[in-house]
Amino acid sequence: MTQPFRFPGKGLLIDRTRPVRFTFDGEAFEGFHGDTLASALLANGQRLMARSFKYHRPRGVMTAGSEEPSALVEIHEGAQQTPNVRATMQEIYEGLDARSQNRLGPLGFDLLAVNDRLSPFLGAGFYYKTFMWPRAFWERLYEPAIRRAAGLGRLSGHQDEAAYEKAFAHCDLLIVGAGPAGLMAALTAGRAGADVILATEDTRPGGRLLSDLPQIDGQPAPLWVEAVMAELQSLPNVRLMTRTSVTGSYDHGTFGALERVSLHRPSSEAPRECFWRIVARHAILATGALERPIAHPDNDRPGVMLASGVSGQFARYGVNPGRVVVFSNNDSGLQAARALTAQGVEIAAYVDPRPVAVTEDFPVYPEARVTGTRGRLGLRDVAVQHGGGTSMIAARTLALAGGWNPTIALACHLGARPVWEPALQSFVMPHDRTPGLTPAGAAAGFLSTRAALLDGRDKALAALAALDLGPPSIVVPQAEDAPYAIAPFWAVDAGGRAWLDFANDVTTKDVTRAAQEGFTSVEHMKRYTTQGMAPDQGKSSNVAALAVLADATGQGIAETGLTTYRPPYVPVSIAALGAGGRGEGFAPRRLLTSDAKSRSMGAPMIEAGLWYRPSYFPRAGETSWREACDREVRLVRVNAGVADVSTLGKIDVQGADAGRFLDLVYTNTMSGLKPGKVRYGLMLREDGFVMDDGTCARLGSEHFLVTTTTAAAGLVMRHMDFVHQAFCAGWDVRLISVTESWAQFCVAGPKSKAVLERLGIAPDLPFMGCRALSLNGIGARLFRISFSGEEGYEIAVPTRYGAALFDALVAAAEAEDGCAYGMEALNVLRVEKGFLTHAEIHGRVTADDVGLGGMVSAGKDCIGKAASQRPGLLENREQLVGLMPVNQGEELSAGAHLYNEKDPAERAYNQGYVTSVAPSPTLGCWLGLGFVKNGRARHGEVIRLDDGLRRRKVLVEICDPVFFDPDGGRMRG
């Protein structure tokens, strides 16, 4: 491998002793350690790297950094592929598999390049106009065809199995960018003892000092960078984060940052990327400035680059640009031409629209402009129009220098608007617009090296003062301090298409057409043309596009204004944002103490909030959940069953005012409850609707234990905290969750006593009683409550004994011909009894709706009482009813709506809806609970259940919601 375009002796970042082999579109290439994909391909003479978004024009590299709009590629790794990777940011590694994207056929002969011929028809807004008729064709034909042809890279379609990471960091001072201003600021703050994070998206600090190679204190800039870094690395209070792009600025000093952890290596266990949330008391934005191109006809060929891109590729990687034409409207372009020529690069022409009167070592064309380029897949000639006519100048590289845009996106994320600075022909952010965040150096408009160094120090000193840290002793080194002059010159109008936004294929014509069609606001122009909406977010095109718009509308640039900058500054993979959140990491899994035993018994687990609960416990020979569920229900009704009910929320309420407090949160009166007794309770929201139900046990005169439903445990705790802290903080009452302290099991059925006795527990409790008990010295609690309608007990033991107790209870139940039962059976048992869950207490029902209006005590205030008595909540309500199929064998479904028999299934005729259903082995048919208009007065009426989703229509009889043992004799025992 010859790497014919590697310049001898150049390339600060590459190690020529370490060749690296990689492939591009399957072809083998060799580069050096430290190369990016872009620099390695350029060094090999491969200028063509991509096809453009819309017209499939041949494209190459324009930059040497993260702003690259054109050279976007796919990186393949095993079954994975990452699209739209900027070739300028992808470091090469042994075996890297990079491929061009957005093409049909080979990169050099893309069949979709036909779009380019069709460009007169494909300009901005073309699909709004062209594909209007016939209307039906849009969805079926036009849109799918356009979508296939548009877009850039493709995803693999496979799960991304790689590791990603997210992390938090905190510091006094975050410095974004490690160029001259960032390094100077870090040195200043580091010496002063501030806790500093210095983040750079580059692989090493230095910024444009590594591209422009100015002299600092008489030595080459890289030596100064090395010395500064040596000092910074010796300071324990300075943390350097390389390959880290700060992506967003958020409220109160929070920043997002994306670290490319291992994208520069073959895939491994290491995270590919890490998304950081950095919290900083102050931030300095030393993000530099981005050069912008000049729009001229055919300015998008491979080989047309930004001047800074040419310098960067040359100095950092030793890429030889060949013969270079520089087209510049400002002094930095001239500087770049001088610097390149001094280092041995051949400058074929310096073209400047200004009347520059200089004599250089290369041909200078003042008051001239570039009017076109030639070279199908790579630049060959540049057409230069000058005083003497138009010359075709042979060149391999055209370097565009259209001025500099300070990189102020992060300063705008919180809403601050930048201001137009005519001297720079750029927008800048005044230093006081964003509290806690200060632009410095080129980002603040200080473009010379010396000015950037000075400003870096000064902004750091100001930040230190704000942080109450004293100024350190520091001297700013001498460096180049050339003045900067620029002429406003944005586009060459010489016929043909001149590109503004290379990533989204937007030309000057698109922008002027938008203006002609009335999209004169910059925000409208952006959306109509899609300028600035590509992955690069218009980094190189925004200001030029709005300048062209301003010209078309006759408004000034300042009046036209910029579009709004929003995070992220660079593309962030969703995988990094969601790191750790896949599979088990999605949410904590709350496991019962009975979990292992249930799984060993073959129980499928279902999620209940964060908890995992057994669905049913299949026995040999049972082939469906129904068989297991039916058997479990039957055994509970005839013998005994055991279920883990630890998921119910448990809140310990203590204090002399505990009863008074519970009277305020419950509708019924808990203060009158006798110690050793349990009462069913209802809580309302303040708007009068039911929030939750549960039991309240009085364990002692000043000690209550409240249970909540599984789903509402957190909500009820928060609510009780609110009532306590907002309305009665001075009372003698204290609340604490004890959900996790106790494992609690329900034993239900006619033989529940016998099951307990097998464990040596005396079931000597009346219905709704509770007491403490000792299990061989282990403090436990026994409650006699029932959610099944059978005689039932709940035993609570300290959680560490839960697994052992569940084992013992299951064994005892089986010895009494009973069984463990799961959520399915639990649901059937409670539906048979008309007991409520959050299917019924769904947030839109009152106590009266569910038949518990009598539980709202008349004699006291409680949360929600006043609102529950609003006139609108008292009449013509949908009330809780039971539903039984008229034909016994028919299945019911929850979520179905109810209509009078002859009425159509339309909203106007709706009579109510079904909330829960259960196949009842006890009654031999499906049962439903639901709400029906004035339902309590309609028992006996036949109504139609209509399930439009399952296409099910069933006639059902409205009945009392308590289907089984309405007197409750069985649970009282």
Binding site: D195, V261, E269, L591, V738, T739, E740, S741, L759, Y801
Partner: protein, 176 residues
């Protein structure tokens, strides 16, 4: 009468990955203490005292760890009788405890927890309530590089999953 044997909250510990180690530990009896308004607990708690927010008060055989608004955990021995002074609740079983230690302990936690873990903000010998991944947690800094962590006992397995994931990522970074 049934004889119940206890189950440990964690299995598979201690565990070292890279430069961090997880070790389960038994904090002994844990009692939540929530003083009623206006009560003076100083005599009842002596020689310990009720901790200010974020503080841990060490005493012979026991410590008082601040764990929330108007609440502290008495850890290590049976709490004194505080009848009429404070609500007390046994929390010995409600939490799963482990220690994360080693040179990467801070980095491991920084991958799960939004808390400022710098020594000036979270000093050795102090306590914090915060979140680990999505779990409510009690965190006690016992050394520059060691922390005691408590989460709801039912979430012990998730805590291990998240901690070991962070540890593996850090170890793999070292290998780059």
């Amino acid at each position: 009468m049934v004889n119940l044997t206890p189950t440990a909250a964690f299995t598979g510990l201690p565990l070292t990955i890279g430069r961090a180690t997880l070790t389960a530990f038994d904090p002994g009896p844990v009692t939540a203490i929530a003083p009623y308004p206006g009560r003076d607990l100083s005599r009842a708690l002596a020689p310990l005292s009720f901790p200010a927010p974020g503080c841990v008060v060490d005493g012979p055989g026991a410590r008082l760890v601040w764990t929330g608004r108007e609440q502290a955990f008495w850890m290590g021995s049976a709490a004194p009788d505080l009848t009429g002074l404070a609500a007390t609740t046994d929390q010995s079983d409600g939490w799963a405890w482990l220690t994360v230690s080693g040179p990467d302990a801070v980095s491991v936690l920084a991958r799960l927890c939004p808390l400022d873990l710098r020594a000036q903000s979270f000093a050795v010998g102090s306590a914090a309530r915060s979140m680990l991944a999505h779990m409510q947690a009690i965190m006690i800094r016992t050394g520059e590089d060691s922390f005691e962590l408590g989460v709801f006992r039912s979430m012990a397995e998730s805590l291990l999953h998240d901690l070991t994931g962070a540890m593996r990522g850090l170890a793999a970074r070292d290998a780059l």
